[in-house]
């Protein structure tokens, strides 16, 4: 029982990270058909601003010194600002371009951000401890669960509820959903393209900041590649969920998180190093079964 509960919490907290990442990628894909490979570097960037830029091994807190009540919003805001800046400087000019061109441009942008961080901080992972209160364990029905996992899951639920409310209840949300479904039509009906896209980038970047915070508290290190694995899985989750479906992206994020944790448990010992191979084989299987994704919106089908 306690073991099952532990697995459940592991799966939910990993799934939360993937779901938030997938949401960030799906939001931007929805409005401008861009697969944003710089997303992982937004995550790393919002973590590294916690530290003083130095190439020495020591790590001195910069923004990390702020009290938690300020720290969290500031990091999230930095993620959002970086994301908005990249839309204004790069992606805005590529809106008419081929998706492959946009994708490679986003990769190049991520490359620039990553190497700027490398220049300022060197490639050594840096230990960093913020929000130390989250490291303790709590008892939930007899199982010892890290407080961070509980907080991650709760925070994800709050973020998802808030975002749903935003998308369903506000004018901006309505515009964004309309744009995600049919961008050209939405523009003709008076949705301002720049505003909606900038907003999508802001939310996406904010989510990247939130992911960064969770990962850094979890691992206690700031690593230049920390966003990469989350970003890759999130990207896959977006496609499995059905491109253009935010709901699908979130569900698929949780599914992949759950599958990874479950495989770790059920695979025989000698096959465990190959876990990722099984997860990705599963991804191919799902794609063959549902090429449009699990929750593809009707607008994504090709009309003849």
């Amino acid at each position: 029982m306690t073991a099952t509960l532990q697995i459940l919490f592991d799966a939910l907290s990993l799934g939360s990270l993937y779901a938030l990442g997938a949401l960030g990628i799906a939001l931007i894909f929805g409005v401008m058909r861009l697969v944003n490979f710089a997303h992982g570097d937004y995550i790393a960037f919002s973590v590294f601003v916690l530290l003083w830029p130095t190439t020495e091994a020591v790590s001195i807190l910069l923004l990390g010194q702020l009290p938690p009540i300020l720290l969290i919003p500031v990091v999230i805001a930095i993620g959002a600002l970086l994301s908005m800046a990249s839309e204004v400087t790069v992606f805005r000019r590529l809106r008419e371009a081929n998706p492959a061109t946009m994708m490679i441009a986003s990769f190049a942008l991520g490359f620039v951000i990553k190497h700027a961080l490398l220049m300022a901080y060197s490639s050594r992972p840096k230990s960093i401890s913020i929000l130390p209160g989250l490291a303790q364990q709590v008892e939930v029905m007899g199982a010892r669960i890290p407080l961070l996992q509980v907080v991650t899951i709760l925070a994800t639920i709050v973020i998802l509820l808030a975002l749903t409310a935003f998308l369903k209840r506000t004018r901006f949300g309505l515009e964004m959903r309309a744009a995600a479904q049919d961008f050209t039509m939405a523009r003709m009906l008076g949705v301002k393209a720049n505003r909606v896209i900038l907003l999508a980038f802001a939310i996406s970047g904010a989510l990247a900041g939130a992911i960064g915070l969770v990962v850094v508290v979890q691992t206690g290190t700031a690593d230049i590649n920390m966003g990469l694995s989350v970003m890759l899985v999130a990207f896959i989750a977006t496609v499995i969920g059905g491109l253009g479906s935010l709901y699908g992206a979130v569900v698929a994020g949780f599914l992949i998180g759950g599958a990874s944790v479950l495989m770790q448990v059920i695979l025989p010992l000698e096959a465990r190093p190959f876990r990722d191979a099984f997860v990705y084989a599963l991804v191919i299987a799902v794609l063959i079964w549902r090429p449009q994704g699990l929750f593809a919106p009707r607008s994504s089908r090709q009309r003849v």
Partner: protein
């Protein structure tokens, strides 16, 4: 009315020009370049083979593939298994089957066999993957790459795990690399003007119209996929015999994105774009490396700060894409034409349509 010239006659100048360009670079550096500069040219030629291999599939089918570097990985390890001296293999790769463990095969047959392995792999996995289209197909190829990487990183008894395999004999000279890239270009060109290549491009631009005209999209995609796996495998062989040392991580995300960037910057729908993209980006990388090391200007050495090289490469790539979203070649081919008269219209620029 005169007959229109055959497609062979109309297009054969493209591969000739591209090969001539590469040969000119190779000869120039052979005569005047230092050892390090010649190594740079060899690296560039290996990338030409890889990117041309990727182009055979991506350029003709319009499906971005993240998986082709995985084919390079399969072939590189295969050629390592075949050509490393048995003594070394018995120490580091004990899990290999006996006939590999006790024998050492010569370079050319090994190279061919090793490049054939990814082609066979593509033939097996292709019928599954080729049913997908658009971004789903891209993700599936990425998943394939991740599976290959995970397996090769962890199957220590035959791949050495994440530590590197050493002792691969080095055979990749400037001329071998040039020969491989020339053959790769010719294969790519022949495929592009073949019936299958034409059908696949038709399916890329207008899938429904192509299907209605009797094009079997999955079959044509599979042909391109297998052929491109073979050419990418050849790049893997060259790479292994160039460095003499391989690790699974050399064939993962960074290599994938570098190759795709070269393709897209050059212009992903044209063979010339694939080759020019490699040449231009490799040259820029080399110039920036050189600037970072320092350029003597009179008494002082001016050098870019350490690490700024990669930032500059990223920035240059973004600039090129901002000004030429369809790539440097803009989907056109380099071509000489000998006769006057109406020119064949250049391929229509293909705008991405959301799936």
């Amino acid at each position: 009315m005169t007959r229109a010239p055959s497609v062979l006659a109309r297009t054969f100048t493209t591969p000739l020009l591209l090969i001539a360009l590469l040969a000119a670079i190779a000869v120039l550096f052979f005569l005047f370049g230092s050892g390090a500069q010649q190594r740079f040219v060899v690296e560039m030629l290996i990338r030409v083979v890889l990117v041309v291999g990727i182009w055979i599939f991506v350029g003709n089918s319009g499906i971005i593939s993240f998986g082709h570097v995985g084919f390079m990985c399969l072939a590189a390890y295969a050629t390592a298994w075949l050509t490393i001296p048995p003594m070394l293999k018995q120490i580091s790769l004990r899990g290999l089957p006996d006939f590999l463990l006790t024998n050492q095969f010569p370079f050319w047959p090994s190279a061919f066999a090793a490049a054939l392995l990814p082609a066979i792999f593509a033939l097996i996995i292709g019928p599954i993957l080729m049913r997908l289209a658009g971004i789903a197909a891209s993700i599936a190829t990425f998943a394939m790459l991740a599976v290959i990487n995970t397996v090769y990183s962890n199957w220590s008894s035959v791949t050495g795990g994440t530590s590197s395999i050493v002792g691969i004999p080095t055979h990749t000279t400037l001329w071998v690399a040039l020969g491989f890239s020339a053959v790769a270009i010719v294969i790519a060109w022949l495929y592009a003007i073949s019936r299958s290549g034409l059908a696949l491009r038709a399916a890329r631009d207008e899938p429904i119209a192509a299907q209605a005209s009797g094009v079997n999209i999955e079959r044509e995609r599979l042909i391109a996929f297998v052929l491109s796996a073979f050419v990418c495998g050849a790049a893997g062989v060259l790479y292994a015999h160039f460095l003499g040392i391989i690790t699974p991580d050399a064939f993962f995300l960074t290599a994938t994105f570098v190759a795709l960037s070269m393709l897209v910057v050059g212009g992903m729908y044209s063979l010339s774009g694939a080759v020019i993209g490699v040449v231009v980006i490799s040259t820029i990388i080399q110039i920036l490396r050189w600037l970072e090391r320092g350029v003597p200007l009179g008494d002082v050495t001016v050098a870019l700060p350490n690490g700024s090289q990669q930032i500059a490469i990223g920035a240059v790539m973004i600039m090129i894409l901002l000004f030429r979203p369809a790539g440097l070649m803009g989907n056109r081919e380099l071509r000489l034409s000998f006769r006057r008269g109406p020119q064949p219209a250049p391929d229509r620029e293909v705008r991405g349509k959301p799936e």
